[in-house]
Symmetry: C2
Subunit: 435 residues, 2 copies
């Protein structure tokens, strides 16, 4: 079939052993950790299926009963640097918080990854939501609004650092004795409320100019930041009409910032549960839900809603939850969903444990492809960040069975046409600062 | 020949295009930057020659006229993660400062590198000496004594973080539903003057227990820190009797800390200039010195001595330099050398530009091997950190021509006998915290 002019984008959100809380216990999950061979398998599978990017979340888990997928990990930037060696086209995206870090360190790490990978780096700009993360840094956790103000300054400082040198600054002219071209340095000078920078980055300008910037906050300040800086917007949506409203809102805010509608791509998360038959898919999902311990359910719910849920009966209605600074927008989305669908606490926790509020299509490869196509064609998404319930089984199934259908339908590339992640995503390259 | 019981250790200090200020202009230097292919070549060459480790310095160059080898680089941890994929035995050591970083981030990055490399990570623990680095972090630069107090706390916190989990914590028992073994978590709690940590590392315990710790400060506080925490001590020495005194001092301080003499290895830097004949080696060195611009010479000298040298005549004596907080011990070593050998400022600058105060043997492979053997046998060194004047030419010459002589003399391994860097260095593995 002829490719449609507009192509959908695919990322794989790699959170091993799986995004579903019970996923790691499935027989087709590889739960050994840390697991470089599994990471290399996922990257190779994603590249063979022509995915846009391999995406890693991040957090500072502290050992207090977190989800298995958030402990026992590799540090994201180091892992992606290693995976850059076994891949040639796949985009490599990592989350890094702006709340407990220095712009110089973060700008340097992503610039370096962009060089190591030949222009395939992306940075998911987040603020650290969990207040207990502050304890590993010995600091007070800043409130929501302040975290977003910090994030805005942080990104601005990083952009100045990436632009320290012109693209062709390092000429290494042995005869003239000029290692750098005179005039090619643009000394960053940034004076903000939270960060201050005087001095250049000691990494040449990244091959992509700037790494691709991703933003994943759905709150008001999160959306406002995305409209200003994001190339890609991740979001959690499980209802098409709400996804359409979010999509329209992001595109409208882009216009307000003087950016075109295609300057930032909206990519909701999706947890596909794929079976050879619909019945097999439903059985996989039921098995996953049986593998969640009740204590774990309460932990996950309490974390997500920002209040202790273990005092409420599991088969009663979802209680009212006071609004907190903690995970503001995500918690509100979950409560809305519970009210809309009249869920019990147990039902909500199955949804949360499964997909944390993301789209959750369950069925055959073509049924899953139908859902993705509909969201893509009807203005709900520019693409998806695929969150398999467990690795490698369900990701292999998606890559090998769902992607070929999307390709046959002309919705997804049959091969890469460029070399950088900006090429894959159809994004422009920011120019350097020469006059 | 029979191997001697005591074997010397070799690191390659990788600072491309070269350690000599004029090195990058040599025809056999590859001065393109950043240069992954060159890094992979150096790593492969070092591993083929059975080196203990590949070592990266680090700094936060700011674009104010620094040495070509300190700008236009990769970020060290990401680069080593990439090189872990193309090597299987070579130790991978990176410098990371304790002055402008968080213990959690640093502990995590080195733990992750140790996993990615199968137990080959080392951390060179430094404090940031150049006060202008503070400007890229928008902070006041702490004085020398405070920086070392911070470094001590920083390492202590990192050790607690590495010991968060027992070695076999991540059991992933699907049947029992236990991702981690109960009781395997030892929650770090550290309350210092400069750092405070509550919470576990989200990386499993490193394969080596703790990464190998290197310490490179030669000042009093630097030596005291080394005696407490270091597995390897780097130092700049250019006179055998002074090197012997330093060696004895380190070993005596180890004993005072209740550690055995072989618990920490003393490895001075050495810049070998290797030719097929002594005359060829001398010509290479002369050519290197011709390639230094005078302005660059003054910049380097001023940086190293912590005072503006451009106001003094190049062919006059080395002026008195007020002691500053800046690079205390290294500056003092250079001034002592100048007084001892009655050097002019120009002569000192040739020495500094060449080897920054390190041992500088110039000659045939066997002449260079003679110097290393003498220092090793006569109590000046347990091994060397090799600092080629330029890459890849002079490193290839050392690896291919000098190392085989050291092997023939039974001073250096003919092959690796273990898999981890601790194995190579003959160091024990710190036990986990189970009762």
């Amino acid at each position: 079939m002829q490719p449609s002019a507009r192509q959908l984008r695919l990322g794989v959100f790699v959170q091993t052993p799986g995004h579903h809380v019970g996923g790691w216990r499935h027989p087709d999950a590889d739960a050994r950790t840390p697991n470089l061979a599994l990471m290399q398998h996922i990257a190779a599978t994603a590249e063979a299926a022509k995915f846009d990017m391999f995406f890693l979340g991040d957090g500072f888990a502290t050992g207090y009963g977190e989800h298995p997928s958030t402990i026992g990990k590799f540090e994201p930037l180091g892992l992606l640097s290693a995976l850059a060696m076994s891949t040639t086209r796949l985009g490599l995206a990592a989350t890094a918080s702006t709340t407990y870090a220095e712009p110089y360190h973060v700008a340097r790490a992503f610039a370096s990854l962009d060089h190591l990978s030949g222009g395939r780096a992306a940075w998911n700009v987040v603020t650290t939501a969990y207040s207990k993360s502050s304890a590993v840094f010995g600091r007070q956790h800043p409130p929501h609004a302040e975290r977003y103000a910090m994030a805005g300054e942080f990104v601005e400082a990083c952009r100045l650092l990436w632009d320290s040198w012109d693209d062709d600054a390092f000429i290494a002219d042995k005869h003239a004795g000029l290692f750098v071209r005179p005039g090619s340095l643009h000394m960053p000078a940034f004076e903000g409320k939270y960060f201050s920078i005087q001095g250049a980055l000691n990494v040449p300008r990244p091959p992509q100019g700037h790494p691709v910037l991703i933003q994943a906050g759905s709150s008001g300040p999160g959306q406002a930041l995305a409209a200003r800086i994001a190339d890609v917007v991740f979001t959690a949506q499980n209802d098409l009409s709400e996804a359409q409203a979010f999509y329209r809102s992001v595109k409208a805010q882009l216009a307000e910032c003087g950016r075109t509608a295609d300057a930032a791509l909206v990519m909701p998360g999706v947890m596909p549960v794929v079976g050879r038959t619909e019945r097999e898919a439903r059985e996989i999902f039921a098995e996953l839900n049986r593998n969640i311990a009740t204590a774990q359910a309460f932990t996950v719910l309490s974390e997500r809603l920002g209040a202790d849920m273990s005092v409420h009966p599991l088969d009663g209605p979802v209680p009212a939850v006071p609004e907190t600074e903690h995970l503001k927008s995500r918690a509100a989305l979950l409560i809305q969903m519970a009210r809309r669908e009249n869920l019990t606490l147990r039902e909500l926790y199955h949804r949360v444990a499964a997909a944390r509020g993301h789209l959750l299509p369950i069925g055959t490869p073509s049924q899953v492809a139908d859902v993705l196509e509909r969201w893509f064609r009807e203005g709900g998404a520019d693409g998806f960040n695929v969150m398999p319930p467990f690795f490698p089984g369900q990701f292999d199934a998606f890559a090998q069975c769902v992607v070929p259908i999307l390709q046959e339908r002309g919705l997804f590339r049959a091969d890469y046409t460029g070399t950088t992640l900006r090429d894959h995503l159809g994004l422009g390259r920011p120019a350097d600062r020469r006059g």
